[in-house]
């Protein structure tokens, strides 16, 4: 879409076109598929972003949702504490047993998780699935991406960390953290991406978070996350099903 077309669309939405111009505009809409698609999207941007009150309403709804979630989490926590108050002795015993088990099984478990992680983590996929979706016109992201591709992960992190509020930057920072074996940090980066379902990196972030959890020996969390992916329409759906089976075999 060129500037002239944008001006025309803007005038159309503002009701500033003459009858003759409207006629010609509508004819173009009916005959030119590209123009129609451009206009549909432009109209969505205009209606959604131009409506200040609707944007305020979105903010309010997000706020209500967040508050409710906090209250729910708080409630759950109190409930758990109450339920577990009398189970402290049992919990201590379990911890002792777990520590013992770690000494006996630690090495074997680690190598199995290592194997699973290496089987399912494919660095090329990180780029293949997402490269086209990166906003390359942004200087910081572009520099970060370029460093990431050159495998300068520390350098890339320095760039991506300049944009702590950006979903894209957090996603790629998570990938760089994975490459640097900083899996716990990577999890927090992916968590940031996953918070908002409406973004292009949602599926990838979930999948890589799952792999990080495997690497961190947090199998139960990994199984639950992969189960979620397996039941969704994610690109990683099939792989998630496989890895759940593999994890449960252990």
């Amino acid at each position: 879409m060129n500037d002239e077309q944008e001006k025309l669309m803007y005038a159309k939405l503002k009701g500033e076109l003459s009858e003759e111009q409207i006629l010609s505009f509508d004819q173009k809409l009916n005959s030119d598929k590209e123009f129609r698609a451009d206009f549909e999207i432009y109209q969505l941007a205009y209606l959604n972003l131009g409506d200040k009150n609707a944007m305020i309403l979105r903010g309010k709804l997000n706020e209500i949702y967040s508050k409710t979630q906090e209250v729910k989490k708080g409630g759950k926590m109190i409930k758990m504490i109450k339920q577990n108050r009398f189970s402290a002795v049992a919990a201590m015993a379990a911890i002792v047993l777990l520590i013992g088990a770690y000494w006996f099984l630690g090495n074997t478990k680690e190598s199995l998780n290592e194997k699973l992680y290496n089987t399912y983590y494919n660095q090329d996929e990180v780029y293949v699935n997402t490269r086209s979706k990166v906003n390359l016109d942004i200087d910081v992201l572009q520099t970060g991406m370029s460093l990431l591709e050159k495998k300068d992960f520390n350098g890339a992190l320095l760039e991506f960390n300049k944009l702590p509020g950006s979903v894209t930057a957090n996603y790629y920072a998570g990938v760089a953290n994975m490459e640097l074996k900083q899996h716990a940090v990577a999890v927090s980066k992916f968590d940031f991406v996953i918070t908002n379902y409406l973004n292009l990196f949602y599926d990838q972030a979930k999948w890589y978070k799952g792999l990080c959890l495997v690497k961190l020996d947090r199998e139960n969390e990994a199984i639950s996350l992969f189960g979620e992916i397996a039941n969704s329409e994610s690109y990683f759906k099939e792989k998630a099903k496989e890895i759940v089976v593999d994890l449960k075999k252990k």
Partner: protein, 194 residues
Amino acid sequence: MKKKRYKDDEIIDGLRSGNDAILNFIYENYYGVVQKLVRKSFGTESQARDLFQEVIIVIYTKLQTGSFKITSSFFTFFYAVAKYTWSDYRKIKYKNPLRNSTGYHDVWQIDEETEQVEVLALMALRNKLFFKHFNALSETCQTMLRLSMADYSSDEIAIELELKNVSYVRKRRSDCLQFLIEMMKKDAVFKELL
């Protein structure tokens, strides 16, 4: 303390004006059914949250036009739009051949409002898709587009973003818009919605 109930007229007026008490009431009373609807077909919490939000937004937008008329209760109408939107979304995602088949519309038994519900469900889906791609843009891009669609000039955007070069703002804004358009055009769901 007994929770306050509201009549449909009060809910509609409250939503129209973005009244906080009404929004909280709608959330407390309606979110659960949307969550149940989504979870029933293995949807996620995020999908439930998005669906709820988009349905509220489209009804709000419709209310601003002054042509909003329903014969059913507000809840029935809200639920119908939610169900329709979710159903359409899933059918597009799963490419279900039953989409648009007859009988599909009979489920909600609100004949008078069916057309309005259909339009709003389509709007909700389009908005959902729009924000999926919009939120993936950088913050600078988002701000530029938001301000420009709210009629800010390039000079005003430059001031707002503390940028000195106005021609850079023009170029960036245009690139951001172009990028957003390209991303949406590549989206298979958008193609279905066109």
